[in-house]
């Protein structure tokens, strides 16, 4: 696409049109990994995992929780916490405008959804990052909602499961966003002191301030297959060390090899396996 068009057409619209050129109708989706053209209802039934190459495509936060939690007894936590632009931050766009665009685009107020619910009858609190909301970045709302979820866990002695998908801290909230790392980590330390389980599930991708705080602090750290996970992004590392990164660098399997995660779980096993683990950690009878 020519440069002048790049400049005047907002990027979201651009990628939409591009998709339409590649794929016949909205009923079809191309796997970003193996490029197989997939029938959407089929893909949905397969939890957004490519049936051809097993690639775990990203899931929206609400969809993630809907698939993970039992259908009954769900209560959302912290939905009333909404973002405020305290710094009146402005780069090439106003932060305020970026926020409203993200809210319109995702239907979410910010990048984390938290719910109390059950998984195979085990009561728990689950939170999920919305990567489509400013790259799942952690600002004050994400931090506050996460802490409120932790507080529900502490009050009701419920385990916590977090599905992380985030580029890191939210730059537009500057130092306030950095402090969310300390805030969420401190809250998790209370859970540890109380002996309440916390499982961190790392999904594609997890980087920066989210990786270097709540996402790595699980009693168990679990990854979805082939997720990209690290502190610094691959491009930054490449520029710093000026060498080619090893094959499979920062993928789930790399993290398992290096001792950063306990296991890799395919999406279809997530409910069953995590429920069984939580039963053991809480001395509940087997299902």
């Amino acid at each position: 696409m020519s440069n002048w068009l790049d400049k005047i057409v907002p990027s979201l619209i651009r990628s939409e049109t591009k998709k339409k050129q590649d794929i016949p109708e909205g009923l079809w989706k191309k796997c970003p990994k193996c490029e197989a053209v997939l029938y959407r209802p089929e893909l949905d039934k397969n939890l957004n995992v490519c049936p051809k190459c097993d690639h775990h495509m990203r899931l929206r936060a609400r969809k993630r929780l809907e698939l993970f939690l039992d259908p009954d007894n769900r209560i959302e936590i912290g939905a009333d916490v909404e973002p405020v632009d305290r710094l009146k931050f402005r780069d090439s766009k106003k932060y305020k405008d970026r926020l409203s665009a993200a809210q319109k685009g995702t239907g979410e107020k910010d990048a984390l959804v938290a719910m109390r619910g059950e998984v195979e009858g085990v009561p728990l609190v689950a939170v999920a990052f919305e990567f489509s909301f400013l790259g799942g970045s952690m600002g004050a709302v994400v931090g506050e909602r996460f802490v409120r979820a932790v507080n529900v866990c502490l009050e009701q002695r419920l385990p916590l499961i977090c599905f992380a998908a985030s580029g890191g801290a939210r730059m537009q909230e500057a130092l306030f966003s950095l402090m969310q790392m300390a805030k969420t980590s401190a809250a998790l330390e209370k859970m540890k002191a109380e002996g309440i389980p916390y499982i961190s599930v790392l999904t594609d991708p997890v980087f920066g301030g989210v990786s270097a705080s709540l996402a790595m602090l699980g009693d168990l750290n679990v990854a979805e297959p082939n997720a990209l996970i690290g502190f610094a992004g691959p491009r930054v590392i490449e520029q710093t060390v000026r060498e080619k990164l090893p094959e499979g660098f920062q993928r789930s399997e790399f993290l398992l090899d290096h001792g950063a995660v306990d296991m890799i779980l395919p999406r279809e096993q997530m409910r069953e396996r995590l429920a069984a683990i939580l039963r053991k950690l809480q001395s509940l009878p087997a299902a």
Partner: protein, 316 residues
């Protein structure tokens, strides 16, 4: 260009060179030029005051990274007596980008931990430009837990561009090392005072910066990402670093206004490097006062305050 002066300090450098020249001439000649030197020195003070009275956020970032800026071990030398540096994380290595050890602050035993940059090329490389690897954070954690056991307050000095973004750092769990420090520091049963003495670079800074009181030198900076990094992502150009520095509010004054920094410690005219003993003395005074206030609290009060403070971040 004098490499020991920043771009915007060059007029000061020129004036100082002139004064120095006059001094040399004065020594050789019969003519008394001390009046002229005196006049120029006054002019120099006025000029420096003027230049430093209105620094932009980006200029402050330059001062924070000034090649002559005092580093952790300079402060240790000037304010800590009887210092023993301790080494290693007991697992993998000793990271020279973070230093730590036990010493005395006005007689009281304390644990001192800080980022350490190098002065000469070789030393810079050895210190990895003050960018720690996981073993640096794990050494810091080991020393902090030791401080808790022996009831020593912890004094940290923050001065890093950020945690090292390298292949080896990723392999050894950079994220986990930082995260674990954040979690543990929130509950350590001993007072923690952190001071941003230079650059507070993101998670790599915070990993030794969870504290009861946060001090910041006047020309220090503290931010979630470097101005260059922010500019290259949000403006798609590292050239816009000065805009990014301004937008993020990385200076001590702004952060104090926002309630994120407790005390700003004024620097000598022209920055900390112009008078290191003076800088160290006034920071030492602040540390002693702050520590007195923290030690007046019971342990439960101290920990509750630390936790409440962490929970208050970002909620208006």
């Amino acid at each position: 260009m004098n490499p020991n002066y920043l771009d915007f300090e060059q007029p000061i450098a020129e004036l100082e060179a002139k004064i120095e020249e006059l001094r040399l001439v004065g020594e050789d000649s019969e003519i008394n030029i001390s009046d002229e030197i005196e006049r120029l020195q006054q002019k120099n003070v006025a000029l420096t005051e003027q230049v430093f009275s209105d620094l932009s956020a980006w200029q402050v970032a330059q001062v924070a990274r000034h090649p002559q800026r005092p580093y952790t071990l300079d402060y240790v030398k000037h304010m800590i007596e009887d210092f023993d540096e301790l080494h290693g994380d007991r697992h993998f290595a000793d990271d020279a980008a973070i230093v730590g050890g036990i010493g005395r602050l006005e007689g009281q035993p304390v644990m001192v931990i800080g980022h350490q940059k190098g002065r000469e090329v070789k030393e810079k490389v050895r210190r990895n430009f003050g960018m720690p690897r996981p073993e640096g954070y794990r050494k810091a954690l080991r020393l902090m837990e030791m401080a808790e056991r022996f009831k020593m307050p912890i004094i940290t000095f923050i001065d890093t561009p950020g945690a090292y973004p390298g292949i080896d750092a990723e392999e050894r769990g950079q994220s986990e090392a930082i995260a674990y420090n954040l979690a543990v520091m929130s509950r350590l049963k001993t007072p923690i005072i952190s001071t941003v003495v230079g650059e507070g670079g993101s998670g790599g800074a915070l990993a030794i910066g969870v504290c009861d009181q946060l001090l910041m030198l006047q020309y220090g900076t503290y931010s979630v990402i470097s101005p260059e990094g922010c500019a290259s992502i949000l403006w798609k150009s590292a050239e816009r670093a000065s805009d990014a520095a301004k937008a993020m509010g990385i200076t001590s004054g702004r952060l104090h206004e926002l309630g994120l920094v407790d005390k700003v410690v004024p620097e000598p005219l022209g920055g900390a490097h112009r008078d290191v003993p003076l800088m160290a003395a006034s920071l030492k005074q602040q540390l002693i006062e702050t520590l007195d206030q923290l030690q007046a609290l019971s342990m439960d009060e101290l920990l509750q305050k630390r936790y409440d403070r962490l929970m208050s971040y970002g909620i208006a």
